[in-house]
C-alpha cells in the first residue's frame, strides 16, 4: 500500500479535457443560429466596408430629371438603377449600400459608448455597493424617465447634426441593460472565494476588479453588446424617422423610410426596402447575440 505518494499517475491515457475556449469554439460551430447571425453581420460588414466599390453610383449625385424611378421589376424601371431612384434622383441601391455603413458605424459606436458607461457604473455599483449603488440606481431611474427624443433633439441642435452626435446620443441613452447585468454579475462574483484570496494576497480593489472580476464578465458583456448593436441601429432609425437623427444628405435607412412614408401607397418599395435591410441587419445581430449567450452561458454561470 503506497503511503500518500503518487508514483503511477496514470491519467496519461485520458486526453486533458479541452480548455474553455476550445469547448466554446466547438459548440459555436454547431450552433446554427449563431452561424446564420454571424454570416449576416459579416456580409453586411463587408458591404459597409467596400461600399464605394460595390455601389453602382455615387449616392450623393442627383439627377432631378430621373426622380422617383421604380425598381427594375416594376414597369417603368430601368436597368441602370436596379432599385430605382429617390426624391432627388439619387440611385436607391447605392444609398441602401451606404446606409449599411451608417447603420453599422452607429450601431457599433453607440453600443460601445453604452458599454463603457454601463459596465463602469455596473462594476462600481456591484463591487462597492452602499451609497455608490444608490447613486447609480437613482441615475438609472432618472435616465429611464427622461424622454430620449428630447435629449436627441436638443443635442442635435446644440452641437449640430453629425454622425458622431447621433452615436453619442444613442450611446448615452442605451447603457441601462449593461448596468443591470454587470451589477448583478459583479455582486455574485464578489462573493466567490478567489476574490477573497486575491485580497488576502494584497490586491487592491482596482487590481481585483481589473484582474479577477472583469475577465469573468467579458462573455456576458459580448452577448449584451450584440443585442445592443441591434437596439442602437433601431434607435437611430427611429430618431431619423422623427427627423432628429441622421441629417441629409447622409443616407440612413431610418431617414429613407421617413422620406418614403409620404409615398408609401404608390411607391411602397421606398418604405419596404430600407425596412427589410434594417430587419435583416438587426436579426443578424440578435441571432448572434442569442448564439453567443447559449455557448457562453454554461461557462459563464459557474
Amino acid at each position: 500500500m503506497n503511503i500518500g505518494i503518487e508514483p503511477n499517475l496514470t491519467a496519461a491515457e485520458e486526453p486533458a479535457p479541452l480548455t474553455p475556449r476550445q469547448i466554446m469554439r466547438r459548440r459555436a460551430r454547431k450552433h446554427r443560429s449563431l452561424m446564420i447571425g454571424a454570416g449576416i453581420i459579416l456580409v453586411l460588414a463587408f458591404i459597409a466596408l467596400f461600399a464605394p466599390l460595390l455601389a453602382p453610383h455615387d449616392p450623393f449625385v442627383q439627377s432631378l430629371g430621373k426622380r422617383m424611378l421604380p425598381p427594375v421589376w416594376v414597369q417603368g424601371g430601368n436597368w441602370d438603377y436596379l432599385l430605382g431612384t429617390d426624391q432627388n434622383g439619387r440611385d436607391y441601391l447605392s444609398r441602401l449600400i451606404y446606409g449599411a455603413q451608417v447603420s453599422m458605424v452607429i450601431g457599433i459606436g453607440a453600443a460601445t459608448i453604452g458599454l463603457l458607461i454601463g459596465v463602469t457604473l455596473g462594476v462600481l455599483a456591484g463591487y462597492f455597493g452602499g451609497w455608490v449603488d444608490h447613486a447609480v440606481s437613482f441615475l438609472l431611474t432618472a435616465q429611464l424617465a427622461l424622454p430620449g427624443l428630447l435629449l436627441a433633439m436638443a443635442l442635435v441642435f446644440i452641437i449640430g447634426p453629425s454622425v458622431w452626435v447621433v452615436i453619442g446620443i444613442i450611446g448615452v441613452l442605451h447603457w441601462t441593460y449593461y448596468l443591470v447585468v454587470t451589477r448583478s454579475a459583479t455582486q455574485r462574483i464578489r462573493q466567490l472565494d478567489f476574490v477573497a484570496a486575491a485580497s488576502a494576497s494584497g490586491a487592491t480593489s482596482r487590481q481585483i476588479i481589473w484582474h479577477e472580476i472583469l475577465p469573468n464578465l467579458i462573455s456576458q458583456i459580448i452577448v449584451i453588446f450584440t443585442f445592443e448593436l441591434g437596439i442602437a441601429i433601431l434607435a437611430e432609425a427611429s430618431l431619423s424617422f422623427l427627423g432628429v437623427g441622421i441629417q441629409p444628405p447622409t443616407p440612413s435607412w431610418g431617414l429613407m423610410i421617413a422620406e418614403g412614408k409620404a409615398m408609401m401607397f404608390y411607391r411602397p418599395w421606398l418604405v419596404i426596402l430600407p425596412g427589410i435591410c434594417l430587419f435583416v441587419l438587426v436579426i443578424g445581430a440578435n441571432l448572434m447575440g442569442d448564439g453567443l449567450r447559449d455557448i457562453t452561458a454554461p461557462e459563464g454561470r459557474n
Binding site: M1, T10, L192, A196, N216
Partner: protein
C-alpha cells in the same frame, strides 16, 4: 417471502450536449420489507441515479433499461407513467433528498405542501390530512407543529426542513422510503438525530428503506445490508457489518483506510491515487483498474466476474485467499503527533474579537443585530496545527476571516509578530498568512490558467522577474505534487482534489508563516480528502508552517491537529491539546459533538436493532 423490491441489471444513461454518460451499469439489488439497504459511493458513482431511476425522476433525455424491476412482486416496467405517479409515488414509495434548503416550494406554506398530495389523490380528507400532518411533524421532533403549518420554508432551519421532508414523505405511509444523502448538508449533531429518527420510524411503520450516502461511517451504523458503488457499477454487496469488517474488494478496502479513524492513534491515511474515470463510453475492463494496487493484465482486458456468496459478493478477479494475504502485507504506519510546548512564540494572536452583523428580516421587517463572534481570544503558535471546531452558525468562519485580515472586527485586535493587523499594509500581511478555502470550484478564477493563478501573489508583491517567478511556481507545484504539464490548464479542466492543491500552491508561493484553512476538505470525496490531509501534514512537517484549520469533522481534527479549540454561538467553550479535548473533554457541548460523530464500531453490528427480524 418474496423481497419487497427487486432490481436486476439496471442501467441508466444521461444525454450530455456532445456525448451520452453511462451513469449506472448493471445494478442489481433486492430489498425485503422492513430491511434497510445502504448504497455507498463517492460522487459520480451513480448511487443517486439508481434511486432516481427507481422513482422515475430522471432528467429529460435519460434512458433506463433493466431486466427486472418488481415492487411487492408487481412488475413496474408494465405500469405507465401516469398510473405510476398516481398510485405508487407518494403512496407506496417515497423519497427524501439531500438539499433541505431547496427541496420545499418557497411560495407555499408547510401545511399546504404536507397535505396537498394526499388530499388531491383522495387518500385522506382535508381535515384528516391536516391532523395527520401535525402528528407527523410532532413525531419528527419539530417544536410547535401546529404553528409551523402556516409558516413558510425559509422560516425554518436546515434540520427542521429535513424533518418536514420526512413528515411529507410519510403522509401516505409508504412501504419503501428512499433517503438520498439525507444528512450531508446538516450539522453533525442534527445529522445524528435525523438518522435516529429515520431508524425509529422505519421500525414503527415496518418500512423498507434505502439509505444513500458517501459517508461509510453513517452507512455502517444504520443499515442491514450495504452495496458499494464505484464509477457507475456495484462492485461489492453484503451484510453491513461484514463488508465494513472484512471488505473483499480492493476499492472498498482502500476507502476504509482513507477515512480518518477516531479509535486509536492517528494513522497515515491511504489515499487512492488518480481520479474517477469518465463513463462517456461503456468500459470493457474493470472500472477500478486504473487506480487499483493489485491490478493485473487480465483486469484491463475484460470485465471481472462476480465472486463470493449471495450473502457477500464482489466483482473482482482476486480470490478469497489472495485478498486476505494482501491485507496483512500493508502495515499501517503510525504517526507520531508532536506535543506543542506552551512557550513557543505565537504567530497570530486574536484578542477579544467581537464581530456584529446587521440584518433586516424581509423587505419591511425591523433591523436585527447578530453577534457572530462574541469576545474570543485565540493564539496560533509557530509550527502547530490548531483545529477550530464548531457547527454552522458558531462563528468559526467569521473568526477565520478576521484572523486573515479580510474583515475588520467590530472590536478587538489581531496581532501578527506583535504588529496589529490593521497597521500592516496588505502586502506585508500577505507575506505572513494566506487562506485556503472550502469550495475548490469557487476558489480559483475560471478565466485564468494555473500559472497565472499561482504566480499572482508574487506579481502583486512585485519581487523578482518573470523567470524567477516561474521557477518559484514550478517549485511550489512540486511541493503540492501537481504535475508540471497542468501549468497552462484552466481550473475547469482539473478535478476537485487538483484544484485544492492549486489553492494551496497559491497560498505557499509567498512562503507565508501561517495558513488559515476554512474547511479545506469537507467539499471533497473521502479518497481525495485523504490526499489533501496527507499533503497538509507533510507540508507542515517540511516547511514548519503553522495552520489554523476550521472544520466540523472530528475525524479530521483527530487526524491532523495538535491543539483543538471548540466554538459555540460565537464563544470559545474549550481549548487544549487534541488528546485532552478528544478523550476527556471538560465541556458538555464537546462531548455531544464527539458522541454525534459517526464512528466505526466495526464489531458492534446493528444486531441489537434488528432483533425483530
Amino acid at each position: 417471502m418474496a423481497p419487497l423490491l427487486e432490481i436486476r441489471n439496471l442501467s441508466v444513461s444521461l444525454e450530455l450536449p456532445n456525448a451520452r454518460l453511462h451513469a449506472v451499469r448493471g445494478a442489481t439489488v433486492s430489498l425485503d420489507r422492513g430491511q434497510t439497504l445502504g448504497i455507498v459511493g463517492e460522487s459520480g458513482s451513480g448511487k443517486s441515479m439508481t434511486a432516481l431511476a427507481l422513482m422515475r425522476l430522471l432528467p429529460r433525455g435519460a434512458e433506463v433499461n433493466l431486466d427486472r424491476l418488481a415492487f411487492d412482486s408487481q412488475d413496474l416496467t408494465a405500469v405507465p407513467d401516469a398510473v405510476f405517479a398516481r398510485e405508487i409515488l407518494g403512496r407506496r414509495m417515497a423519497m427524501i433528498f439531500q438539499e433541505p434548503m431547496t427541496s420545499l416550494n418557497p411560495v407555499y406554506t408547510i401545511g399546504r405542501q404536507l397535505t396537498e398530495a394526499s388530499v388531491r389523490q383522495g387518500v385522506l380528507s382535508a381535515k384528516v390530512a391536516h391532523q395527520r400532518a401535525i402528528a407527523l411533524l410532532d413525531r419528527t421532533g419539530i417544536p410547535d407543529p401546529a404553528g409551523r403549518m402556516s409558516q413558510y420554508p425559509h422560516q425554518l432551519s436546515g434540520g427542521q426542513r429535513q424533518r418536514v421532508m420526512i413528515a411529507m414523505a410519510l403522509m401516505m405511509e409508504p412501504e419503501l422510503l428512499i433517503a438520498d444523502e439525507p444528512t450531508t448538508a446538516l450539522d453533525v449533531t442534527v445529522q445524528a438525530q435525523i438518522l435516529e429518527l429515520l431508524a425509529g420510524l422505519q421500525c414503527e411503520m415496518g418500512m423498507a428503506m434505502i439509505l444513500i450516502s458517501h459517508d461509510l461511517a453513517v452507512v455502517s451504523e444504520h443499515t442491514d445490508r450495504v452495496a458499494v458503488m464505484y464509477g457507475g457499477e456495484m462492485i461489492e454487496e453484503g451484510r453491513a457489518a461484514e463488508v465494513m469488517a472484512a471488505a473483499k474488494h480492493p476499492y472498498t478496502q482502500a476507502l476504509l483506510k482513507a477515512i480518518p479513524r477516531m479509535d486509536g492513534p492517528p494513522v497515515k491515511l491511504a489515499a487512492i491515487p488518480g481520479t474517477v474515470p469518465s463513463t462517456t463510453s461503456i468500459p470493457k475492463a474493470c472500472i477500478f483498474a486504473s487506480r487499483c494496487d493489485f491490478v493485473r493484465d487480465v483486469c484491463r482486458s475484460g470485465r471481472p466476474p462476480v465472486q463470493g456468496s449471495d450473502e457477500h459478493w464482489r466483482r473482482c478477479i482476486l480470490g478469497e485467499t489472495e485478498l486476505a494475504t494482501q491485507r496483512q502485507a500493508s502495515p499501517v504506519a503510525a504517526m507520531v503527533r508532536k506535543a506543542v510546548e506552551a512557550s513557543t512564540a505565537p504567530v497570530i494572536e486574536a484578542r477579544d474579537i467581537v464581530q456584529v452583523f446587521q440584518s433586516r428580516r424581509g423587505l419591511f421587517g425591523p433591523k436585527k443585530e447578530i453577534r457572530a463572534v462574541d469576545g474570543v481570544n485565540l493564539t496560533l503558535k509557530r509550527g502547530e496545527t490548531l483545529a477550530l471546531v464548531g457547527e454552522s452558525g458558531s462563528g468559526k468562519s467569521t473568526l477565520a476571516r478576521v484572523m486573515l485580515g479580510l474583515s475588520l472586527p467590530t472590536s478587538g485586535s489581531v496581532l501578527m509578530r506583535g504588529k496589529t493587523l490593521g497597521g500592516m499594509s496588505p502586502r506585508e500581511r500577505a507575506a505572513l498568512v494566506q487562506p485556503v478555502f472550502q469550495d475548490p470550484y469557487s476558489s480559483l478564477n475560471p478565466r485564468r490558467t494555473l500559472a497565472e493563478i499561482i504566480v499572482r501573489p508574487l506579481e502583486l508583491r512585485g519581487d523578482g522577474n518573470s523567470q524567477t517567478r516561474l521557477a518559484r511556481v514550478r517549485e511550489v507545484m512540486d511541493m503540492v505534487r501537481l504535475p508540471q504539464r497542468l501549468i497552462h490548464n484552466y481550473p475547469a479542466q482539473l478535478s476537485g482534489g487538483q484544484r485544492q492543491r492549486v489553492a494551496i500552491a497559491r497560498a505557499l508561493v509567498t512562503s507565508p508563516e501561517a495558513l488559515v484553512c476554512d474547511e479545506p476538505t469537507s467539499a471533497l470525496d473521502v479518497s481525495v480528502q485523504a490526499q489533501i490531509l496527507n499533503l497538509l501534514t507533510d507540508l507542515q512537517a517540511n516547511l514548519g508552517l503553522s495552520c489554523l484549520v476550521i472544520t466540523h469533522d472530528m475525524g479530521v481534527v483527530h487526524q491532523i491537529a495538535n491543539r483543538v479549540a471548540v466554538m459555540l454561538k460565537g464563544k470559545l467553550v474549550e481549548e487544549g491539546s487534541t488528546d485532552a479535548v478528544l478523550n476527556h473533554s471538560s465541556h458538555e457541548y464537546t462531548r455531544t459533538l464527539l458522541a454525534a460523530a459517526p464512528r466505526f464500531r466495526a464489531e458492534e453490528t446493528r444486531l441489537e436493532f434488528s432483533g425483530h427480524e
